[in-house]
């Protein structure tokens, strides 16, 4: 075989591979770096193809031409390589149009230099042909620009290589092999080129072509064995990066092999580079307790929280082991799903559940058939049925016939049509007790609007119902009283318009219905003449806020009669404000008529009494005046005014005088008695001093007693008030009467007069004597008019015995009592007990 064939065949072969790969890669150009890889391969293909043509040409000029052509590919390769490296290592954003342009400025210049080399020989200085067997080879010495180009190219290649090597170190195992092959594949030609250029190996020909073969093979391997540019990584990428759940792949020593964007966000690492290759512990330095907990745990499913306070989020953590091809544990997969929302919902549900559980109202949930699915503790508390006991049963089991059947039916109708129903039930507890509840039942719908459950919220209103009933009964009771009262009962508002009138009131005003009276004014009730007074009375009551007044008014009834009514008016208050009037009125016509009759008879009586008084006064005067004449002259006669009298004449005068005195006394007593009997004796009421009274009564009598040789004493109790109130004139008369009697009926001994104070409300006038006394039988009768104790002295002292009876009557008129204690032969004590009168204010 010819040398040429040996060289050319591999070259053709690898060129074909390059071409095929280029085409294949272009087909899959969605992958990161696929496009640039395709171009790279294309360039290599160009280079290879041109080199083949260079090799087989024999002419130096043609050879040179094809050499230049190879350099088209040669100058592009570093740039392409770098671009590919950038794209493949995820720096696609670096690769902008302007940068690509910049990158290829140099190659462009080099190309120009190469194609104008004849002019300046900057690239190649010399060129010559030489043969090795049948191979025609070219040998050139390199010019300045060659080295510039070489430097530039090697820099780019280095850059690309570095990128890829760095990535290699970080990338998961599955990609590394791929990268290594690519690296090797691409480095090979350059290695060869370098050997050739620097004459590193004593090789005649350019090794580069073989390197191309290697390249091609390497590519193929990377492609088909390691599935370079396979769609699956793309899809997987998309899936993994696009996943909401955070995914972290850990190797056996807890280093992060891979993690997706979501994981980065969760761990708050989105700013930085993917922490691939770092220790998990380092990345999760913020949560050492998590790292600890799951350090060696192969499999787990837990809920964890990350973050604090507002930023706290919940995650469902799933750890699963990863197994390699040989079923060995190569690492772990960590999935973190954000369940914060779920957790919040759960919490909310928990709160609501708690609310339902601890609600002070009973809550019952039934399904659409009405069977109980849930009851809260309050329900159990109220009814006595436990949850287990009522589960699946219908709430109808509680119902009683106290609740009208209509209520249940209406309720079902309402709620099954999707509306809320409110109403009252009377239900029975487990222990048989009845209770009332106010229920609010509503349907629960699912998202599609279909009713799935009914919820009933029920409040125990038994107490309230009971109170209502009592109130109702009470109201009926009172209403009956008011409605049936014969008195007029009515109410008005604050302006005086009727708000209510009971049947009696309605009747008297001529209305038959309560409605007729509303709007009428109270002043309409009375006669026009009395309206002014009525209005004034109630205005005054309203202004002075007097709670109760009584007044009387005339009225004209519906049938024209004139009646009088007396009404009690009460103010209806709301706090401090007058809201209206409440009136209880009565027909007092009869009473008024009686009063009128009474007044007439009183007036008549007064008139009669006045007439009587006048008569008595007249009689008194008519009797006393002539008496005065008789007594006067008799006295004058007796004391010698008309000249001396001889014995018979004196005797006559004495007789006249005596009889006249007696007559005078009789007249006095008769007139007194007449006054008392006619009830026209009016007691005077003055302030007087008891001391003065005593003194006035005794001063006259003292002499009389002394004349009879009796001891006469008087005393006054110091406790007695200094001033008393009453008819002192009469009291004096009484006292004089008693003292007179005492003196009269005492032959020897003493007479004692005293005024005493037995207690705070009474006082006593007392006359004690050592006279003949009064026999027991006569104790009461001596106070009767015209009666005297029958004895010698009285016979001597002829009197018609009016004195004591008049005294007794007068004393009794004053509200007092007269008492006699007496013993025949020892003496008597007459005691007059009188109430202490208060001076009217």
């Amino acid at each position: 075989m010819s040398l040429q064939t040996i060289y050319v065949m591999p070259l053709v072969f690898s060129a074909m591979i390059s071409a095929a790969l280029a085409w294949y890669t272009w087909r899959h150009r969605q992958t990161a770096g696929a496009k640039s890889f395709s171009f790279l391969l294309l360039v290599l293909f160009e280079w290879g193809t041109a080199y083949i043509l260079q090799l087989i040409s024999t002419d130096l000029e043609i050879k040179t031409f094809w050499n230049k052509v190879t350099y088209l590919g040669v100058v592009m390769t570093p740039g392409m390589w770098l671009i590919f490296a950038l794209e493949y290592t995820g720096r696609k954003n670096w690769v902008t149009r302007s940068r690509i342009f910049l990158l290829f400025v140099m190659p462009l210049i080099t190309t120009i230099v190469i194609w104008t080399n004849e002019a300046h020989h900057l690239f190649w200085t010399t060129a010559e042909i030489y043969r090795v067997s049948d191979l025609v080879l070219q040998k050139s010495s390199n010019g300045l620009w060659f080295w510039v180009h070489a430097a530039y190219s090697y820099v780019l290649i280095l850059a690309g290589t570095v990128l890829i090597v760095r990535a290699l170190l970080r990338w998961p195992a599955q990609y590394r092999r791929q990268m290594a092959w690519i690296l090797f594949a691409v480095a090979a030609p350059w290695l060869a080129n370098a050997i050739t250029v620097f004459d590193l190996l004593p090789v005649l020909i350019d090794l580069t072509p073989f390197a191309f073969t290697v390249t091609g093979v390497g590519m193929a391997v990377a492609l088909f064995r390691h599935r370079l540019l396979d769609l699956e990584p793309i899809a997987r990428d998309l899936v993994i990066e696009g996943m909401k759940d955070g995914m972290i792949v850990l190797d056996a020593s807890n280093r992060i092999v891979d993690l997706n964007q979501a994981a980065q966000n969760i761990l708050d690492l989105s700013g930085e580079q993917k922490p691939v290759g770092k220790q998990l512990a380092d990345v999760l330095a913020r949560w050492p307790q998590l790292v600890e907990r799951y350090r060696d745990v192969p499999e787990a499913q837990d809920e964890i929280t990350l973050g604090e306070g507002e930023a706290q989020r919940w995650y469902e953590l799933t750890l699963s082991p990863l197994h390699g091809q040989q079923k060995q544990r190569v690492g772990r997969l960590v999935i973190m799903r954000d369940i914060t929302d779920r957790k919040l919902s759960e919490e909310k549900v928990r709160q609501l559940s708690r609310a339902v559980e601890s609600s002070p109202t009973s809550i019952v949930i039934t399904n659409t058939d009405g069977n109980i699915q849930y009851v809260n503790p309050k329900f159990t508390q109220v009814t006595g049925y436990s949850f287990e006991e009522v589960l699946g049963k219908n709430p109808n089991m509680l119902k009683t016939d106290q609740t009208p059947a209509e209520t249940h039916r209406q309720m079902w109708e309402t709620i099954s049509s999707g509306c809320e129903w409110r109403g009252e039930f009377c239900n029975r507890k487990k222990n048989g007790e009845l209770y009332w509840e106010l229920a609010s039942i509503s349907p629960i719908e699912d998202a599609a609007g279909k009713i799935t459950h009914y919820v009933a919220v029920k409040e125990d209103i038994t107490e309230r119902k009971r109170t209502e009933r009592l109130l109702q009964e009470s109201e009926i009771r009172f209403r009956q009283i008011v409605e049936n009262a014969s008195d007029f009962i009515y109410r008005t508002d604050v302006e005086g318009y009727f708000t209510y009138a009971n049947p009696s009131a309605l009747h008297i005003m001529g209305f038959s219905d309560e409605k007729e009276v509303l709007g009428k004014h109270y002043l309409d009730m009375t006669t026009p003449e009395a309206r002014h007074r009525m209005k004034r009375t109630y205005q005054r009551q309203y202004l002075s806020k007097t709670p109760n007044t009584y007044d009387e008014f005339p009225a004209a009834t519906a049938d024209g009669r004139e009646i009088w009514f007396g009404q009690n008016v009460q103010l209806l208050m709301d706090g401090d404000k007058v809201m209206g009037f409440q009136v209880l009125a009565r027909d007092i016509t009869a009473i008024k008529q009686a009063q009128e009759a009474l007044r007439i008879s009183y007036d008549q009586a007064m008139e009669a009494s006045r007439a009587k008084s006048q008569l008595l006064a007249k009689v008194s005067h008519e009797l006393r005046t002539p008496l005065g004449g008789i007594l006067g002259y008799a006295e004058l006669l007796q004391n010698g005014t008309f000249g001396p009298l001889h014995e018979t004449q004196m005797k006559a005068a004495d007789e006249i005088l005596q009889s006249s005195h007696y007559l005078n006394m009789m007249v006095n007593e008769l007139l007194d008695e007449a006054q008392i009997q006619a009830n026209t004796a009016t007691l005077q009421e003055n302030c007087f001093s008891p001391a003065v009274l005593l003194q006035q009564a005794t001063s006259g009598m003292e002499i009389m007693a002394e004349r009879k040789g009796l001891e006469f004493t008087s005393s006054i109790d110091p406790k007695l008030p200094k001033e008393l109130y009453g008819d002192d004139h009469r009291l004096r008369q009484i006292l004089i009467n008693l003292i007179g009697n005492a003196i009269k009926f005492t032959k020897k001994g003493s007479v004692h007069v005293s005024l005493q104070s037995p207690d705070a409300g009474h006082w006593i006038m007392q006359v004690t004597d050592t006279g003949i006394g009064v026999p027991n039988e006569a104790h009461s009768s001596i106070f009767e008019p015209f009666k005297q104790a029958d004895n010698a002295i009285t016979r001597e002292n002829r009197g018609i015995g009016l004195g004591l009876s008049i005294c007794k009557q007068l004393v009794e008129l004053m509200g007092g009592r007269i008492v006699l204690e007496s013993q025949v032969g020892v003496g008597s004590t007459f005691t007059i007990l009188l109430p202490i009168m208060k001076k009217p204010a």
């Binding site: 005067h621 006393r624 005046t625 005065g628 004449g629 007594l631 006067g632 002259y633 004139h729």
Partner: protein, 120 residues
């Protein structure tokens, strides 16, 4: 010395007679049977004592008493009321110096008059 003057106002002539006889030894007396003339006289003289009957024709005794008491000139004049009317007597008790209920004892009257007029 002149005897003090007593004006007697009493409608009953018998009693007038008796009063005059009783008092004439110690006093000058003038009698009137009704009030107005007595008042006219009182305008001229200042008696030591007036004996006044309440039961008078024309102007009632009560009024005469008021008029007497209203007159400053008669401030020192004593008044004895003579009346059969007990009630009126009670009412006027404090306006007069003394009230005597009829029938009046001449002796009593004389004593009283003397006592009342001692300081005149």
């Amino acid at each position: 010395m002149a005897k003090p003057l007593i004006i007697i106002i009493e409608d009953d002539p018998t009693l007038n007679e008796i009063f005059t006889i009783t008092l004439t030894s110690d006093f000058e007396t003038e009698t009137y049977t009704e009030g107005e003339t007595a008042l006219a006289r009182l305008a001229e003289v200042i008696p030591a004592l007036v004996v006044l009957d309440l039961h008078l024709p024309g102007t009632p005794g009560r009024e005469i008493l008021s008029k007497i008491r209203a007159d400053d000139r008669l401030a020192n004049t004593r008044v004895i009321l003579a009346t059969a009317d007990e009630r009126q007597a009670n009412l006027l008790y404090d306006r007069a110096d003394m009230v005597l209920l009829k029938p009046i004892s001449p002796g009593q009257l004389k004593d009283l008059a003397k006592r009342l007029c001692t300081d005149f």
